[in-house]
């Protein structure tokens, strides 16, 4: 986030929407977006958020509180990323080659996409987070929890 916030926010929101559009015409259940077991999915999302934020919570003395506009951008980007990578891409890879290639492929591309915006030091952590979220997606046939966990993590950091 090295650009001016006023320019960055609309760009990020548009980017998030564009990512979400990759799931166009995919049925919700293929994306892991069904509403069955909703309480389980929501609790799973909270649990994933705990895991994602635990290292920061153990270390930080102060955290940034995002300005409302940036918070909107954070939500748009994290929802868009989840729908694109662990929704549409995961579903396509799973159809083509099964679960393990879907987890590995979506994690690899998610990490590669973050290489454009992140310093190399963070990419191992990004990959590990992608692997965790991807395994949840595979094991629980669910994308709601990764979305919730990712949104909370982005809002906090």
């Amino acid at each position: 986030m090295s650009t001016a916030p006023f320019a960055a926010v609309p760009a990020l929101v548009l980017g998030g929407v564009a990512l979400a559009l990759t799931a166009w015409r995919w049925p919700a259940d293929k994306l892991g977006l069904g509403t069955s077991r909703l309480a389980f999915r929501v609790l799973g999302g909270l649990a994933l958020a705990v895991v994602l934020l635990l290292p920061a919570a153990a270390r930080l003395s102060a955290i940034p509180i995002l300005a409302p506009a940036l918070a909107v951008a954070a939500v748009a980007v994290s929802v868009g990323e989840e729908i694109a990578f662990r929704g549409a891409l995961f579903a396509a890879l799973e159809e083509a080659g099964g679960g393990p290639p879907a987890v590995i492929g979506s994690t690899a591309l998610w990490t590669a996409a973050h290489a454009l915006s992140h310093p190399p030091a963070f990419l191992v952590t990004v990959a590990a987070a992608g692997l965790l979220l991807g395994l949840w997606r595979l094991a629980c046939r669910d994308l709601v929890a990764p979305i919730i966990g990712h949104v909370i993590a982005d809002l906090a950091l």
Binding site: A58, S61, A74, E81, S117, A129, L131
Partner: protein, 237 residues
Amino acid sequence: MKRSALLAAAAALYLATAWMVAPGFYDGFAPPQPYNFVCPPPQAGANSAPASGQLVIKVINGVSDANSAFTDDGQVVIGFLPGAFDVTGKTSVKVDITPVSPCPKPAGLHFSTNTYQIAADAPLIKSSTLVMRYSNLVADPSFMYRADTVDGPWKPIEVSAQAQVWTIDSKTDKFGYFAAGYPQGAVSTGGGGGSQILPVTIAILIVLVLVGGVPMTILRRRQARSGNAGEDDEEEA
């Protein structure tokens, strides 16, 4: 069981990797790269030494050129307008930005950033824009401070509207020592958060997961048992 073990292993792997780089999970809304502290706070994790910067500005037709000096890690940037320096008798102007070590700790002030000495071999005659980046691991600075010597006295200089996230901007017409921070005991007026918000949030989330998850697990087990019993009854019938 296999599913839970796989997820637990992935969570453990994530925690191990995230512990190696502060703040851990990071998706671009924090500063673009970890701040390099001269005196890292305990929560900083791995830390690299901050960089210095140097710039030689050409003097063309008796006027110093427009240019920007910055540290190699981008933590300090100072921009000069054309004719910013008194260049009498000079063909170029050399600007140096150097992180100061040990960290000054002036009474009554808390510095969020490193302290940098910015010096040049010609005096300024026009204000220059100074931008300092700060870490998301510390409270936001409210002011930028300048001093002629590292021992002070430190005086606040006017802060401009924030143009970028995680930076504090100001203008200066003098070189010297610069740092961004806030008066000791003051509440940061920037976007910085409270010191305990994240740990408290995580604690609340853990409670929610336990309060919701334990009854849900018990219920599912009971349903599974009664389902099995139902199947047994049907088989007996």
